[in-house]
Amino acid sequence: MNWWVLIAFVAVMLVLRWRRVGILTWVAAWWLGMFLVLNYVFVVPVPVSVIKIYMGIISLSLFAFVLTDSRRMSEFWQPIQAFVVEPRYRPLLVLVALAIPALVAFRIYADMTATPQAPFFARTVHPAPPDSITVHDSELALGTADNPYRELETSNPEEFKERLELGRAIYYENCFYCHGDLMAGAGMYAHALNPIPTNFQDPGTIAMLREAFLFWRISKGAPGMPEEGGPWQSAMPAWENFLTEEEMWNVILFLYDFTGHQPRAVEMH
């Protein structure tokens, strides 16, 4: 985060508060300040679509803040009214009147001369899986399937540990080049990929999913991803061409063990 932007914003707001500025200035400062915070505080830029949502909410709230109190409302409108009506502001008013169409013209010019970009794409990170998949001639019902070796965790911890070790070997032989040695999606090849590989440490990824879902994603890779997941935006190979079913289940055990996450359980009615 760019803390200095945040500190500057807080400082400006404190000064405005200390100077007891009018309600119009106060509201305008909040609006502009939040816009700048959203645009410049985060090192990784916030997408425009989210900024629009946030600014919409902020605008509505500021509107509510002003209109809830009749005194506040009249204080808000008074300078605007004075600006429009009083003769001493007339030159400035003319300037504003000219500036508005000029800004519109500039916006049109900017839009017309902008570098063409690919359209927005609503990529779904966890697309809905099919009801069943066929891997190495055996069919797996994804809605009810579970890792066949998961129960070893309690029934036979020794064998479970062995399977974790087998999974570890599979991971470091195949997966770690992209997903990284800490499973944070920062492997040595990661920076050549766009988007970068999934960060398994993020609680919003494998921690939210069933093991059968992971089995589907690993076995079928990008080519088996539905349209909404943007198959062309993933470099994940279909690992069923290189690994056995058992190896894939073992590596899934290892992913959860290493990250400390628990897989989502199959929910029964």
């Binding site: 109190d69 970068i196 935006q233």
Partner: protein, 673 residues
Amino acid sequence: MSRKPPVLPILFGVLAMVAVIVASFKFLSTFDDKMAFKSPVRTKASVEAPAETPRAQALRESAEATAAKELEKPYEEAEYRTVPRIGSRVAIWIVAQLHLLFAAFVLAVPIFALIIEFIGYRTKDERYDKLAYEFTKLLSASFAFTASLGAGLTFMLIILYPKFTNYLMSVFSPTFLPYVLLFFAEAGFLYSYYYGWGKFSPRVHLFLGLMLNVVGTALMFIANAWLTFMSTPAGIAESGAVISTWEAITNYTWMPINIHRIIANVAFGGSIAAAYAAFQFLQAKTDEERAHYDWMGYMGNFVAICGLLPLPFAGYWLASEIYAFSQTMGLTMMGGAFSWLFIIQAILIGNLFLFANWYLWLGMGRIKGAERYRSFIWPMLVVITICFAIWATPRSILSTTEEIQAMGGSSHPMLGYLGVMSAKNTAVNILILTTFLSFVLYRRSGKIPTVSWAKQANFVQFLIFAGAATTVIGYGIAGYFVDAKTRIGFSVPQVGSVLAALVLVTLIDVFLLRKAETAETNWGKIRPISQYLLIMLAVTFTWLMGLMGYVRAGLRQHWHVFGVIRDTSVDAYTPTLGFATQVVSFTVLVFFALIGFIFYLTGLTNRKKYQELKGTAPESSTAPDLSAAPGLSAAPGLSAGPGATAMSASGGLSTGASGYNTASNEPPSTLKT
């Protein structure tokens, strides 16, 4: 001095114009006649030739052959029929949605009308009885619209989806006759409840209202079985053959939908009734009318908020049952193609909370003594804004290629944490808690407790609020460090603490404010923007219902009955999100046009008779002065004239010289909270 008009030139002009028109027609018909095909002049021999030319003969034979073929055509049952231009699905979608919106309104209003009537009966406060009647007045026309749209929907299903409708009828055949009988009973109870207002003993009338609700709810439960079966089928074989109708009825999502719809209907009905009050408030000409409709709007909004607060919990239960039924469907809903609609849903629900709070804050302006709570408003607004923003933060963000590249994926490395369940649950629970706090402060505005333990009670209430907020936020943060199953389990203490706070604070309030000093509430003295907020709340509720209805039905994707009966029509694809929202918006517009018409029709009962307006009314037809409560003067059964039997403030029957409202001993403009 005026000049005589030049008659001759005018006459000449008219004649000239007629002449020009006639000449034009003549010219055109002659031209047309010249251009038309005419048979050539035949010689005598050709005239005597057979009348039928070889071409005509061939045409005749061809027509006869076609007719013969038609007669031999075997009977084939149509699987689908189409509607020109818009297609069958959109046509059914619009009609079903409109039917559902009206049905929701017709089912909801009797629930709170009955409760309000009961409060009036118990407290012997006539105002509640009047208010309940005012709400009920909206039902009569709405019920007819609901029935008409229901009939339209049924016919359209039979015409457009005959095979599938036939299948549904075979699965649910035992439910249709009870449905029809219940519908008749609904009509009977509704109209006797409406027309019998003030005509029966209060207990009999309350019983009619109760039965109206029981029958209405039963009707909804049956209809819910049909539609939930389509999404989460049960009681059938893989081929679709019926094994158990009861299991088909009690499928996975039947009860969650029943509960969700009852609560949502109340919230929706309350908001529409409040919008009606706002509509009347903005048209009101006297302070008395404004006072009445201000109070009605407040009560409608109160009902809507009461429904809104538990609604997210019911929705959560429904969503978890969908997920439990099918992981595919669950992921399609929350993580797949439909998940984007939940961002819109979050924005709409956030708006609802903001508008509801805003309305309450504006309402404080009409209560003397509310000034002491003004300083609470801006911190609550900040909390609502933050929670609203968290709730509307998507996990997977709509991004350009460059933005995805910068973020390293579809989720933002920092804001992405706000897009997961722990953050969302925390935000919505705090939103509910804050809205409840707004309401508590609103209620307190006009009251000063007189009990000796008031300070201690306030402190305990503060502790309850703080405890609930700490529990919600604590579990929300802990949710980031546990497995999915435990995280899902955390929602129970979060919800539990909020519900417990709602109940405990209300209980303390009841005893605390008993015998409290009540300040004056200036009903009607509220800024007009509050009424626009009520209308916006109603529009938002309606839009939300349309949107979520689409999500629930659309989740089936290319299935009529999920996983069993496949949709093989030309519409067997999921429409784009943009198109879906356009259809929902169109439906909402049509609904408001129709409900606006119902408002207009209902408003007609408040108008004076035509003869009275013209000042030509015969003396005998002049109704008694029933204008103490606007909206009741021309109510059926309440204008029988001097000596008419009417329900008195005591809830019993009394005969009064001037009808319904003379018992009112205080003007509505000084109604107490």
